[in-house]
């Protein structure tokens, strides 16, 4: 019943689009747009197929799977057909936050769990609010599931499992806090995505009391989703990536390269600043030592010492801010470009599969004009993939622009604040120095 209803609503929408076209669009363009809307409908239906819940699945959160699944699918379908208008969150109906990290010490292992609080008005959530605890492994599981079940979409990256550089204390407050922020960002990115946020694994992740039970159950059932993709690797080489995807690929290569450089520069700056701080911490007290030798000069020297102390504190705040706020965002985007490259590769495989089939058909039956159904299906899949990828890429570009704008403005702000604090400190000692001078 759900299938029918949603297919119908899609059709209604298509008709509406055609209706609108008659009014606004010149005749010769209408054909193109009609075709586009057909494509959209196909894509929507395909996506719907992928989203369709497995009937034999028991959701461990005690909800009623049959009852909730249909509206979920149809609303996701509508969501897609709205052409992602509301990514800015005006109509946001799902809020997820990660907080309150807790350390668990067991006999076998020690790990951190994070509290995940979900508030939603969506119908697929039985309760308006959920609160569960998850550890990194669970996030990792979720990401794998999303990759499997949404192969055509760009899945946001998780923070690295281990920090490569040096021996980092995984349980230190800073490390846990940085990771918490990254995990929060990860879930928020999924929440903001018009398709991924409706993924059932995501739903389970947010709501299930016992995620492990669900994990075990899911292993057998969900392996076949990625199947078709894995299937193709049988030697066929893609003729050529379409220009626009080739451009995306090139873009990502350069983007990752430049971001890597920025990351190194930022780390180097922090390193230099910390060394500068070490020297400043020695520099200030020398003025204090000097002041003990002097009479009239004692106060001015003490003033300079205090002033250098204030500047040191401001500098420390700056490096802390940069370490905590600047570097993680860069890292996220470096990882993002990897996720993106892997989706791009999957897309190539789908295209390769289609081209291989098309070639095989052309070789076998050159005289028959009709293309077999499986080849058509394959073409649909490719087109659907392309459309998803393009939409995700566009969304990503938009996010990236906003994120970097904010990030870089934040960097500028932090530096301005640092200089303002130092300026205040130095300005405050000028009268102290001058008064004495004039009094003499």
């Amino acid at each position: 019943m759900g299938d029918y209803a949603s297919a119908q609503s899609a059709e209604v929408l298509q008709k509406n689009i055609s209706g609108l076209l008659c009014v606004f669009v010149p005749q010769q363009l209408q054909g193109d747009i009609q075709r586009l809307s057909h494509l959209l409908l196909d894509r929507a239906l395909f996506c719907y197929q992928m989203l369709k819940p497995k009937k034999d699945l028991i959701l461990p959160n005690g909800g009623t799977p049959a009852g909730t699944s249909s509206p979920a699918s149809s609303s996701s379908l509508l969501n897609r057909l709205q052409l992602d208008d509301d990514i800015d969150g005006e109509t946001r109906d799902l809020f997820v936050t990660v907080d309150d990290p807790k350390k668990h010490v067991c006999t076998m292992e020690t790990y951190i769990t994070y509290r995940i609080t979900t508030k939603s008005t969506r119908v697929e959530f039985d309760l308006p609010e959920y609160s569960v605890r998850r550890r990194y492994q669970d996030f990792d599981w979720l990401r794998n599931k999303l990759e499997e079940s949404q192969p055509t979409h760009l899945i946001p990256p998780l923070p690295e499992k281990f920090v490569v550089k040096g021996v980092v204390d995984r349980f230190s407050e800073e490390f846990v806090e940085t990771r918490r922020k990254a995990l929060d960002k990860f879930l928020k990115r999924i929440t903001d995505h018009p398709v991924l946020s409706f993924n059932e694994h995501f739903n389970v992740f947010l709501t299930a009391k016992d995620l492990n039970a669900y994990k075990k159950q899911g292993i057998a059932l969900l392996t076949r989703v990625g199947e078709s993709v894995k299937h193709v690797t049988g030697g066929y080489k893609l003729r050529s990536r379409p220009l626009e995807f080739a451009a995306i690929g090139d873009y990502l290569d350069t983007f990752a390269l430049k971001l890597g450089t920025i990351d190194r520069i930022a780390q180097r700056i922090i390193k230099e600043e910390i060394e500068y701080l070490v020297e400043l911490r020695e520099y200030g007290p020398v003025y204090s030592t000097w002041s003990t030798l002097e009479g009239e000069l004692a106060e001015p020297l003490e003033g300079v010492s205090a002033c250098i102390g204030n500047c040191s504190t401001a500098l420390e705040e700056l490096t802390d801010d940069m370490t905590e706020d600047f570097l993680p965002v860069l890292r996220e985007y470096i990882l993002y470009s990897d996720s993106m490259k892997s989706v791009l590769k999957k897309r190539d495989q789908v295209q390769a599969e289609y081209e291989a089939k098309l070639e095989a058909v052309a070789l076998r039956k050159e005289d028959r004009p009709k293309v077999p159904a499986d080849v058509e299906k394959c073409q649909d899949r490719m087109e659907c993939f392309n459309a998803d990828l393009k939409a995700d890429m566009e969304r990503w570009q938009n996010n990236k622009r906003q994120d970097f704008r904010q990030l870089l403005m934040g960097m500028a702000d932090k530096n301005i604040q640092y200089y303002e604090k130092c300026l205040m400190a130095w300005e405050s000692i000028i009268p102290l120095l001058q008064e004495k001078q004039e009094a003499k």
């Binding site: 180097r268 020297l301 702000d413 200089y419």
Partner: protein, 403 residues
């Protein structure tokens, strides 16, 4: 002499130029040195305009000679120090080469400052050799050597670490000596750390310059973000290059501190001279006391302490009364002489203490004034650096906000 003083009060001194020269030294070896042009202008009363009076070239070694002469002739004065011969306490980006133009320029300022310090000193400005240093290019060295100042110099002072066992040191001078030691150590520590601070600050700024390049490269692949990134990159370049001027200004502050680092040495020189005088005085007093004792022994015939003379008397028998009379007479003469000497040394010592203390008081005032000024100018430099920083980052923020 008073004529000179009168003249110096209406004169402006400047070291206006430095020039690299090659010549032959005493060993007839080729050498390169820097000569400095000293210009003196007398100030006209009527319109305040200055007219070039004289100009001549001097090299660093001649400045050194002048100072050595002053040190010997004015032991009670804290003689202004020369700027360093070789660059010290430099941060590594700065050249330590003696011929480096920046170093030569800073030394030029230092030498000018040295001359101005002497010219403004109430006693030193009246010195004839100084006057000739400014006005007579040829034969100046010969004139200095004719003063015989080198003979007058006490070689004991050259042994830098020798201490004289003074029984009754002047507490004020002991404290002053202690102060100059501490001052020297604290300023040299300060200069060392400041050089490292400058090094690190340089690093922080210059690494930001890398953003300039990478933003510009990145901007090439971006559409909407491109322009903002590109111009922000430009501001990062500006930021990175702004440090050069900032640190160059700071070097001036370092030079001001260095002058007082060397002043600490000059202060100690005065203390040492006082110590030496006190030592001589005590030695003379001791000598006199022992002679008085001898005289008394001879007169009374008793030997209070064990001595070689006592032994010889016991072994060889008593002297004749005539011999004894003659010896007592000689000793009495020596005692008289010694008493006169002690008196004059005492007088000399008191005179020295009075003069030295007056100059030390003058020096302290000058030091407080100068260092306060130096601290103010340092604070002003820091303020201008902060303002520059705020400006650049505000500009960059503006660019980022357009992305």
């Amino acid at each position: 002499m008073t004529e000179n003083n009168f003249w110096l009060k209406k004169i402006e001194i400047s070291v206006s130029e430095a020039e690299k020269r090659t010549g032959r030294n005493a060993m007839n070896m080729q050498e390169t040195y820097t000569a400095y042009l000293i210009e003196t202008r007398s100030v006209e009363h009527t319109d305040g305009q200055s007219v070039l009076t004289d100009s001549l070239w001097r090299r660093y070694s001649e400045f050194e000679l002048l100072r050595n002469y002053l040190l010997v002739y004015y032991p009670h004065i804290v003689v202004p120090p020369l700027p360093e011969k070789r660059a010290e306490f430099v941060w590594h980006k700065l050249s330590a080469d003696n011929m480096d133009p920046d170093f030569v320029e800073r030394r030029r300022i230092g030498l000018e400052n040295f001359l101005l310090r002497i010219a403004s000193h109430p006693t030193l400005c009246r010195d004839k050799i100084f006057y000739l240093f400014l006005t007579q290019e040829g034969n100046w060295k010969e004139t200095v050597n004719e003063t015989g100042f080198q003979l007058k110099a006490d070689s004991r002072l050259k042994a830098l670490n020798a201490t004289f066992r003074v029984k009754n040191p002047d507490k004020r001078f002991t404290e002053l000596k202690h102060y100059s030691d501490e001052l020297q150590s604290v300023i040299s520590h300060l200069l060392r750390v400041r050089a490292r601070v400058a090094d690190r600050l340089y690093g922080v700024y210059k690494v930001h310059g890398n953003y300039g390049r990478v933003f510009s490269e990145w901007s090439a692949i971006e559409k909407e973000m491109g322009d903002g990134l590109q111009s922000a990159g430009h501001h990062m370049d500006v930021y990175a290059s702004s440090i050069d001027d900032i640190l160059e200004d700071e070097e001036h502050y370092a030079d001001q501190l260095k002058e007082y680092l060397f002043y600490a040495e000059a202060l100690r020189a005065v203390c040492r001279k006082h110590e030496l005088m006190q030592y001589d005085l005590e030695m003379a007093a001791q000598d006199l006391a022992s002679k008085k004792q001898q005289c008394e022994e001879l007169a009374t015939g008793t030997v209070r302490t064990f001595s070689l003379k006592g032994m010889t008397t016991k072994l060889f028998g008593q002297e004749t009364p005539e011999q004894r009379e003659a010896r007592i007479k000689v000793l009495e003469e020596q005692i008289n002489e010694g008493e006169q000497q002690l008196k004059s040394k005492n007088l000399e010592g008191r005179e020295f203490v009075r003069n030295a203390w007056a100059d030390i008081e003058r020096f302290k005032e000058q030091k407080n004034r100068d260092l306060k000024e130096a601290l103010i100018s340092y604070a002003v430099m820091q303020i201008s650096m902060c303002k520059k920083g705020i400006q650049v980052w505000t500009n960059a923020k503006e660019c980022f906000s357009k992305m």
